[in-house]
């Protein structure tokens, strides 16, 4: 029971942390909550579908179907976060030129919020498919151990959701004048970490067989299985023994997001008081 609870807790927390950051960054947009919860729901449903076909998916691509599925949904999430960031940057510039554009933002915001919903859904799908697999396995079999696993899973979900909520509340309490830059930075880190993990999955599947050498080994200082390690992994794709390709993917994505966010700067310069 304890084993299942820990697995499920970790998966739920990893998804919850990412969603918390996205919600804190973008939750003030019109109808944002509807898109975020819609994304969660879509992710849960997709997780169930993936779990039912887990055996088949695992057997795809010479037994590396799961890694390639993970890599694909991570890359999709990074693209969506990038697209949303660019959209925000463009919108910010427009707002500086014309305050009336605010109404326009509300009107056209739904297109960009769709990207946010996709990010949330893919995050839930990535972690959720494993959770569903265990709970489904536990529920499908019978006996005391099955019930214990199921109970453990439910405890894991509850604890994961609770810790994610507390983290979200912590981010939201950051003073208003900083919350935008903090969450923008967090989203850039989140996307860069996703890119690094996508690189990891491509290497784990044998699809990318270059730049495989280990950069360093921090497994004795900050193991990625420890609680701070799990937190850093969810936040920015931390690995205690990253490969060269993982670091390149992280750095390239981070640099791209920094450049994209620079495009939004004029807004901050011309509209310093409003927040």
């Amino acid at each position: 029971m304890f084993g299942t609870a820990v697995i499920v807790f970790r998966e739920v927390f990893e998804a919850g942390l990412a969603i918390g950051i996205v919600a804190a960054a973008l939750g003030h947009a019109p109808k944002a909550l509807r898109y975020i919860w819609g994304g969660v729901l879509a992710g849960v449903l997709a997780s169930m579908v993936v779990a039912v076909f887990a055996g088949g998916i695992a057997n795809l691509f010479g037994g590396f179907g799961q890694e390639l599925l993970n890599a694909t949904i991570l890359i999709l999430a990074v693209l969506m976060l990038g697209w949303h960031t660019l959209w925000m940057a463009r919108q910010g510039r427009q707002m500086a030129q014309d305050l009336k554009a605010l109404g326009q933002q509300a009107a056209s915001g739904s297109k960009s919020m769709m990207a946010v919903a996709v990010v949330v859904a893919t995050t839930v799908l990535r972690e959720g498919s494993e959770v569903v697999l265990f709970l489904y396995g536990a529920a499908a079999s019978s006996g005391a151990t099955a019930l214990q696993s199921l109970a453990g899973g439910l405890i894991g979900i509850a604890l994961g959701a609770l810790v994610s909520y507390v983290t979200y509340k912590g981010i939201v309490r950051i003073p208003m004048r900083w919350v935008f830059s903090v969450t923008t930075g967090l989203i850039a880190l989140l996307a860069s970490g996703m890119a690094a993990q996508a690189a990891h999955f491509l290497q784990a599947a044998g699809t990318a067989t270059f730049m495989e050498n280990e950069m360093w080994d921090w497994s004795s200082i900050l193991p990625d299985s420890s609680l701070p390690g799990i937190f850093l992994k969810a936040l920015m794709g931390y690995s205690d023994r990253p490969t060269q390709l993982m670091l390149v993917a992280f750095a390239a994505t981070l640099a791209t997001f920094i450049v994209a966010n620079r495009l939004a700067k004029p807004k901050a310069l011309t509209k310093p008081a409003a927040a």
Partner: protein, 107 residues
């Protein structure tokens, strides 16, 4: 970013590269790993084929080797391990980690 992501996506679609070596096979029967201790010659990379003969889902976890992958009831998974260092590594079927223990030794 898009260029990088597109390149990565193209790689995803390109499918797995040629197998480097035949996978090493390992099987979970009940709470027992077969063989209990799996010995592997040290190389830069090796591939493991892990089969779960049980009626419930399992998860192979070998912390020091960064192996952590679920496997459905009666299914098998492939795991590619990068940069393994010589040593012995404890492995478990995580949902039943109290009883289901095995070991991988890298020589």
């Amino acid at each position: 970013m898009k260029a990088v992501a597109t390149a990565l996506f193209a790689l995803t679609l390109a499918g797995p590269a040629l197998a480097e070596d035949a996978p090493v096979e390992w099987t979970l029967r009940g709470a027992n790993f077969d063989p209990p201790v799996l010995t592997i010659e040290a190389k830069s990379t090796f591939t493991l084929k892990f089969t779960n003969t049980n009626a419930v889902a399992a998860e192979l976890e070998c912390k020091g080797l960064k192996i952590e992958k679920p496997v459905v009831a009666g299914g098998s998974i492939m795991v590619r391990v990068l940069n393994p260092k010589p040593g012995s590594y404890d492995c478990v079927d995580e949902p039943h980690e109290d009883v289901a223990k095995g070991q991988i030794v890298i020589k």
